[in-house]
């Protein structure tokens, strides 16, 4: 199996699907000729032509608004938003239109599309090149939300998302676009949506994470094991909406302790939903309060971004907290 980084895996997934299904089209700012500012769509215009891989004017509402029309008319658009931080001009089109077209038409119309967007911090991007807006989409009925943490998943989840009949927000952790390398099957395979993956088996604490934070969580788990004698079961959630409740509860029933890690701000972040749901369904299994290690409730900073982002130290403190409760 070839080794790829995340960008190559995303590119490969798009190529596989565009070869398999002529309805798949990709477009966005700098996506066509240039191949995307992160080069995720590089070479696609050469192979599939400017009708299926093209540039757009600088208008996210136009990108998503036209994508919706295409999806209503038989295509499988995969628009790119250059940075998740810039998705908001398209927010109305995503939240009031894409998410509701199936429902409001009584299932007559559908809107199968995948909105790709690099998200998250760690690249010294400050306020507007670092955001993690998943909550806005998870809270919006009618959208699926997918976040891969490694190249193999990125490819399989993106292919599954493109084949899904619903609008999917596909958030790519740009911090590990190149850092995360791994073996990726060639050709065509899918990773089923709404299935989490147990990334590390453990017995003391269930650590729930996704995207770039999965790696921070895994590192913390290793140190916790060696230094603190804490055995963490680390779960890569992969799909945030609809999320895999069974895998989560199975782990929580076993460990009785939970630490949730995400970059997004804490208040009403996805961690809040996970914590609330777990308390509803497994309160009596809990041996300690659920700890959330998240980005702070501030805009994303520049100089102090490593203080802002959850790190090994903060996760280990949370682990110690739930163990010593």
């Amino acid at each position: 199996m070839p080794t790829m980084n995340m960008i190559q895996a995303v590119n490969d997934a798009l190529r596989v699907e565009m070869r398999r299904d002529s309805r798949v089209v990709v477009f966005g700012e700098d996506v066509g000729r240039f191949g995307g500012v992160f080069r995720a769509t590089q070479g696609l215009q050469d192979e599939f032509g400017p009708d299926r891989s093209f540039d757009t004017p600088l208008a996210e509402a136009g990108i998503i608004g036209t994508a919706i029309g295409m999806a209503m008319n038989g295509l499988r658009p995969v628009p790119e938003i250059q940075f998740a931080d810039f998705v908001y001009p398209a927010f109305d089109q995503i939240v009031n239109e894409a998410a509701k077209i199936r429902y409001r038409s009584g299932g007559q119309f559908t809107c199968p599309m995948v909105i790709r967007m690099p998200y998250g911090g760690g690249i010294r991007g400050g306020h507007y090149h670092s955001q993690s807006p998943e909550t806005y989409f998870i809270h919006t009925a009618g959208l699926k939300v997918v976040v891969p943490s490694n190249p193999h998943d990125a490819k399989g989840l993106l292919i599954a998302s493109i084949r899904d009949e619903n609008p999917v927000i596909f958030m790519e952790p740009k911090r590990i676009y190149r850092a995360a390398k791994g073996e990726v099957e060639e050709g065509d395979y899918v990773i089923e949506l709404s299935k989490a993956r147990v990334a590390r088996i453990g017995s003391d604490v269930s650590v729930l994470a996704y995207g770039a934070m999965l790696h921070t969580a895994l590192e913390a788990a290793e140190t916790a094991a060696s230094e603190d004698g804490i055995s963490c079961e680390v779960i890569d959630l992969r799909t945030l909406m609809p999320f895999d409740i069974d895998t989560i509860l199975e782990s929580v029933r076993k460990t009785g302790r939970v630490v949730i890690v995400h970059e997004a701000p804490r208040t009403c972040g996805f961690g809040a939903e996970l914590a609330a749901t777990i308390c509803e369904k497994a309160l009596l299994n809990l041996q300690a309060p659920i700890a959330r290690v998240t980005g702070f409730d501030t805009p994303f900073p520049y100089t102090l971004e490593s203080e802002y982002l959850p790190n090994e130290k903060r996760i280990r403190e949370a682990l110690a907290g739930v163990m010593n409760f």
């Binding site: 036209t66 029309g69 007559q108």
Partner: protein, 362 residues
């Protein structure tokens, strides 16, 4: 583009000097007239029903029937009509069943939208009628996408979208027109300039000399037409549709008309405009004008009119009878169509509603 307003028949229904009638047969004239009359009578009936409390809400087209029917009549069957909320007449013209329209208004078990939207939010993929949504302007980029999507798939489909003068202020209008210009998309933008956005008159909506002139900002065609002259509207629309179909790109049509009625059944326009203004526009009423034209052309007479009025009345009456007594949708339907399948969390929510865990289950 020029700022002159194209007209073909004058307020008395006479053909204007050196105006050329569009190539339409008398059967076409009849179809158009019937659609306009139907639109008018349906609006009147629905507005009465709403006052009687028998339906919750309604949006009428009073005075704008020419802009609506004239544009829609220019489309072929495979073309897309991408509506705002005020073009029921266009849907019916394209074959949307009156019964379906009424069931949507009642939001009953036969409503194809499954009772999920307010009245006048219809749609049909089979008839290439995009589904109405309330947010102003959001449909405009959809039309561009529908048109581009068809072209990418090698299908000959033009998309024509309706919106009001107020909608031109939204960013969605701007991005849609700009995309259409850049991609030369086969799309037609029809602005029903009915002079008001609820209470806001056009001069407070934009300082531009016209709506049509906005086309220049996007390198697309622009044209102003008398929106109360159905033949003039048809001919500019027909030209725009042909331009789109033949690769000539998009057109922005400004149909200059007037909203004779309230914005919706929730609105009382006397709070913000003078009756004289309304009266003045009533004298240019598109329906009376086209009837006068037909009679002047000896294509129509009073008897025919009476018979048509009666048949329309009866058709509406019997469809209403059927629709009004139907039950609401099943409660389970609340949880369907959020996604293609019902995920676990919606199953849980559905079950909690249907089989409550405790003694209060009724």
């Amino acid at each position: 583009m020029s700022d002159t307003i194209l007209r073909i028949i004058d307020d008395q229904g006479k053909v204007c000097d050196d105006a050329t009638l569009p190539e339409l047969g008398r059967d076409d004239w009849y179809k158009i007239y019937r659609a306009m009359l139907f639109n008018r009578r349906l609006d009147e009936r629905m507005t009465r029903l709403q006052r009687q409390g028998r339906i919750g809400f309604y949006v009428g087209s009073l005075g704008e029937e020419a802009a609506i029917i004239g544009s829609a009549f220019a489309l072929e069957e495979q073309d897309w009509l991408v509506p705002c909320y005020r073009e029921a007449g266009a849907a019916l013209l394209r074959g949307y069943p009156l019964f379906d329209f009424l069931c949507q208004i009642y939001g009953n078990s036969e409503d194809r939208m499954k009772g999920r939207q307010m009245p006048c939010h219809w749609g049909s993929p089979g008839l290439h009628l995009a589904v109405v949504s309330s947010p102003v302007g959001t449909q405009i980029p959809h039309a561009v996408g529908l048109a581009m999507g068809a072209r990418i798939q090698g299908r000959d489909e033009v998309a024509l979208t309706f919106f009001g003068d107020g909608a031109t202020s939204e960013g969605d209008f701007h991005v849609a027109c700009n995309f259409a210009g850049v991609y030369k998309a086969p799309v037609v933008f029809v602005c029903r300039n009915n002079q008001y956005a609820i209470s806001i008159p056009l001069e407070q909506q934009t300082a531009s000399p016209s709506i049509a002139v906005k086309s220049e900002a996007y390198g697309i065609e622009g044209v102003r037409v008398d929106g109360n002259d159905v033949l003039a509207v048809y001919s500019v629309a027909q030209e725009a549709v042909e331009r789109a179909r033949s690769g000539g790109g998009a057109t922005l049509i400004e149909a200059v008309t007037y909203r004779q009625g309230a914005h919706s059944t929730s609105d009382d326009p006397r709070a913000y405009r003078r009756d004289e203004e309304v009266e003045e526009w009533k004298r240019r009423d598109p329906l009376l004008r086209f009837r006068a034209f037909l009679i002047d052309q000896e294509a129509w007479d009073e008897d025919q009119d009476e018979r048509l009025e009666k048949s329309i009345r009866d058709e509406i009456q019997s469809a209403l009878k059927q629709a009004e007594r139907l039950a609401p949708p099943e409660i389970e339907s609340l949880f369907e169509d959020v996604f293609d399948t019902v995920p676990w969390h919606l199953e849980e929510q559905r079950d909690s509603l249907l089989q409550p865990s405790s003694e209060f289950a009724s």
